[in-house]
Symmetry: C2
Subunit: 203 residues, 2 copies
Amino acid sequence: MNDTTERDERHQARMVRKKAVMDARIAASADERGLLLVLTGNGKGKSSSGFGMLARALGHGMRCGVVQFIKGRNSTGEEAFFRRFPEEVSFHVMGEGFTWETQDRQRDIAAAESAWAVAKGLLADPAVDFVLLDELNIALKHGYLDVNTVVADLQARPPLQHAIVTGRTARPELLEAADTVSEIGVVKHAFQAGIKAQKGIEW
Amino acid sequence: MNDTTERDERHQARMVRKKAVMDARIAASADERGLLLVLTGNGKGKSSSGFGMLARALGHGMRCGVVQFIKGRNSTGEEAFFRRFPEEVSFHVMGEGFTWETQDRQRDIAAAESAWAVAKGLLADPAVDFVLLDELNIALKHGYLDVNTVVADLQARPPLQHAIVTGRTARPELLEAADTVSEIGVVKHAFQAGIKAQKGIEW
C-alpha cells in the first residue's frame, strides 16, 4: 500500500467519525426559531455580514426590514442595491452622519430615537421575518438609546423573527440577550496602509 | 451652565478633534484600487460578509463573480437570491459537500481543482470587478490546492478588481498577500445551545 492510499484511508476514517459527530449534533438540535445575532469588534465585516444574511433571507422568500442607525455617506452600495426590492425589503437610512461629522449630541440623540421608533415597528410586526439593525451598537455605546429598552423590545419580537445587530463595542446587556455573537478582529486593514475606503467593499 | 450643556460641549470639542484626524487620514489615502480581503476565524459571519460586499458591489453597478468551493447544501439562500441577476453575477457552486460528507480525498481534490479553474478565469478577466471565493480557505487548509499557485493567480488579477476569500484557518501565505484581514471569533453560537442552523442566517 503506498503513501497516498494510506493517507486517503486515514482521511476517510477520520471523516467517518466526524460525520457521526456532526449528524448527532444536528439531530439533537431544536427546530426553527428566530435568532438574535450580534456582530461586533473593530474589524472589517460586521455590516457586510448583516447584508449577506439579508441576501440569504431574501433567497428564502422572507420579508425583511433594515434600519441604518449611522448614515456615513449620501449613498451606499447596499442602499442602492436593496432598494431595488421595495416589496421584499423595507429599507430605512436614519442616521445623520458619523458622530464626528455632526458634532451635536442632542441632534444625534433625536436621530437615534427616530430610528428606534422605526425599528420597534419592524420588531413588532409578525409579517417581518428578518430585521437588520445596522450600527445600532454605536447609538447604544454613546448612550443615545437606553439599552434596557432596546433589549426588551428585541426580546418581545415574534418568535420566528431573526434580528441582527451590528457595530463596534456592543453593550454587555445585548450580548447576554443574544443567541450568537461574533467578535470581528483586525488582523490588518488596507486603511492602515493609506488606502482609502473602496466602493463595493466598505460602502 | 448645567451638566447637560457641559457634557454636550465636551462632546462637541472631542468630535471637532476627531473630525480633523479623520479628514486628514482620508485626504492622505490613495485612490481607487482593487483589494484582496480575507475573512477567517471560527466565528459566524465570514461567508455572509462576502455576500454583503457582493451586494454592495452590485449596488455600484459592478460585474461580479462567485465561486463556492464547498457545497454544504443542495440549495442556499445566497444562491437562490444572487442567481436572480445572471447578467451581473456569474455564480458557481463547485464543491461536492463538506469533507466529512464526501469522505473521499481524491474526489475533493478534483472538485477543488475544477473550482480553481473557474476562479482563475474570473481573476484573469478585466471586465470582472469583484470576485468572491467562498470557503477557498478550506480547500487550501486540506492541501487540495497549492497555496503558492493560488496566491500568484490572485496577485496577477487586474489592478482594480476586488477579491474576497473566506473560510476558517487561512494560510499564512494568503494573509501576507492580503490588504485587509479580519479574524472572526466566536463569543457564543446558537448551535452550542442546541439550536440548528437557521435558514436566512447560516444558509
